[in-house]
Subunit: 403 residues, 2 copies
Amino acid sequence: MNPELIDGLTVKNDSKIVFLIMDGLGGIPVPGKQGTELETARTPNFDRLASSSVCGLLDPVGPGITPGSGPAHFALFGYDPVKNNIGRGLLEAAGIDYPMTDNDLLIRINFATIDSGGIVADRRAGRIDNETNRRICRKLQDGFRKRQDGIEIFFEPVKEHRALLVLRGEGLEEEIRETDPQKTGLKPFDPDALAPEAEKTSRLLNKIISKARGILKDEEKANMLLLRGYSRYRKYPSLQKRFGLNAFAIAAYPMYRGIARLLGMTIAPPVDSIRDEFEMLRKNFSQYDFFFVHLKPTDSRGEDGDFDAKVKVIEEIDSMVPDLTALGPDVLVVTGDHSTPSALASHSWHPVPVLLHAATCRPDKVQRFGEADCLTGGIGRMPMVYLMGLALAHAKRLEKFGA
Amino acid sequence: MNPELIDGLTVKNDSKIVFLIMDGLGGIPVPGKQGTELETARTPNFDRLASSSVCGLLDPVGPGITPGSGPAHFALFGYDPVKNNIGRGLLEAAGIDYPMTDNDLLIRINFATIDSGGIVADRRAGRIDNETNRRICRKLQDGFRKRQDGIEIFFEPVKEHRALLVLRGEGLEEEIRETDPQKTGLKPFDPDALAPEAEKTSRLLNKIISKARGILKDEEKANMLLLRGYSRYRKYPSLQKRFGLNAFAIAAYPMYRGIARLLGMTIAPPVDSIRDEFEMLRKNFSQYDFFFVHLKPTDSRGEDGDFDAKVKVIEEIDSMVPDLTALGPDVLVVTGDHSTPSALASHSWHPVPVLLHAATCRPDKVQRFGEADCLTGGIGRMPMVYLMGLALAHAKRLEKFGA
């Protein structure tokens, strides 16, 4: 089924839908453990929810495909993750609320340290602080005040070693080789054209890198820039336009706020803790009808390879669930955007457990919120892109299809 | 998900993947038996594997579709079985390593016996021996030394009653009615054009059949030829090209070697027994990174309608599994290409049980390798074409999709 079939069926009502997204929720066991992180965690509140919900396992993109955060979140919100695959440059730009134009090519910069031979010694320039990042971006901007080959050039700090390079003008293309060699001990790659029409962009980037290297030559740590995630600006139909949803996003990390912003959600001011995110939800609950609550620590502990810490974060989140259910959302969806098993210390292809709680659920036999149990649930194994339609249906926001 | 999405994500590493394919593995019960052939068989080794694997049921093409061996194997190797559907002529040609050209129309011949009234009395000419087959093909070739209507004509023996007819030239089309009436007591059908552009090919085939019948008129058994599986030559991207896999195929039957050859695998010399196939795997294990081990007897016993014999073959294969696991493949997939229930004595549409064993598996609750148990497994019910991506993911041979 085309995931956009639901667009023509949406109706408005007073229902409220909450998507509680634990980033990287899905896992696998490590030696000595009988189950995944979620299965090992003590989660009485999620389990109670699960026993009166419909559960399942979601494939963010498809069997065997490990999704980046972009595709995974597009799928969560009902946007085809392959058709809408976008580069990290656009996500970063959206994350800092950069005023993009139709003519922008957006590129993620990682400041890096190279040695005297030009070899990458640190791909993150020792994770320089935000102040240094801002100073370096100002210095680069000073050096690029004039247009180069008719193209305007902007440097914007993001966080730590990360920044944004914006090229603005005609004829810019995104089919360019990433220059980050992905490991130390190698020279940065050249920004080669990967398609004939990208030759002009490639030549321009070569000049920019060369000049930037000169400007940064006296920096102790950030003496080089690595480029990735080239992406042209794109405009997406908003959740308001597609589904009539007045959406509110609560996320601590810029990239997730960025994705939400691309889809037209109102963005909550950043907060620091899981507790603060739940509090932000409570305070704004009366004003919107769709809530995206993004919790990052599950993914971070998975990426750290720390099984027990991921278990602990899940238990912490579980303990706050009563505050959420007390708000009485009509539809509560609890899931992840993808799996991040601590055994792999990275995103993975394993499907993600989901529970959907609503008065209109047909109960299944799942009594516990965990991967193996969810497999037997009423949602079954399903591409994630259909989740939004299911949530809208349970909120009675979808009309009948056909006569 | 487009099954070709994985092509752009593959990376190389030292992992080894084994596909152990029991042809026609899936079954259904017969009266007096509680389960399928696989469920009836004593398979302690497969069961032990299953309990630490992820299991599922695969649909070779789709619900209700009974696949031929060609589509079933294309799906196994991650090639869309509908888009890549090819005739048996091409498979037979590949199976005998026939030097095909871009201008070839390849046709499978079954030598048959017709009575004096032209009625088919034996569709396999009493399964004439290979020597007779070769003699008859030489005799036919002698009669077709000259081009006919500008087309070159070649007869190549395959095995028993099976041979290959190659038409080489311009304007040949494959939309021709098969002449094998599929049962005795009928006259062969005419090779009618099924599309206007195939008229020329149809006229040519009518002449060839008529002339061949004259040449064979004094043969005791093989006095007629039946034509099926018309197929133009096609070139496929190899497993090396698509997935970076250096693949090795072990198969006793020509057609399966042919499919493997079309996909660029290195073909092991033919061996006679299941035991020899496992030994061939062991001897070549260090030299390749993907292994297709095709075991035919499960299908043959199913086609014979012999439930107990199929059970016995499965048990025999199970007993050799420790030799395979001792090699330590990173990913071991055990499945069939399709179902051949002995109750039906033919290929069927029933989905096929699969187990995928790897260190990166998320365990499910399946403790036994059988159809009903696999249905509750973590792979769930899935189109077979996605299996290769799942195997590559578990071998850590797929990069993340998107940022």
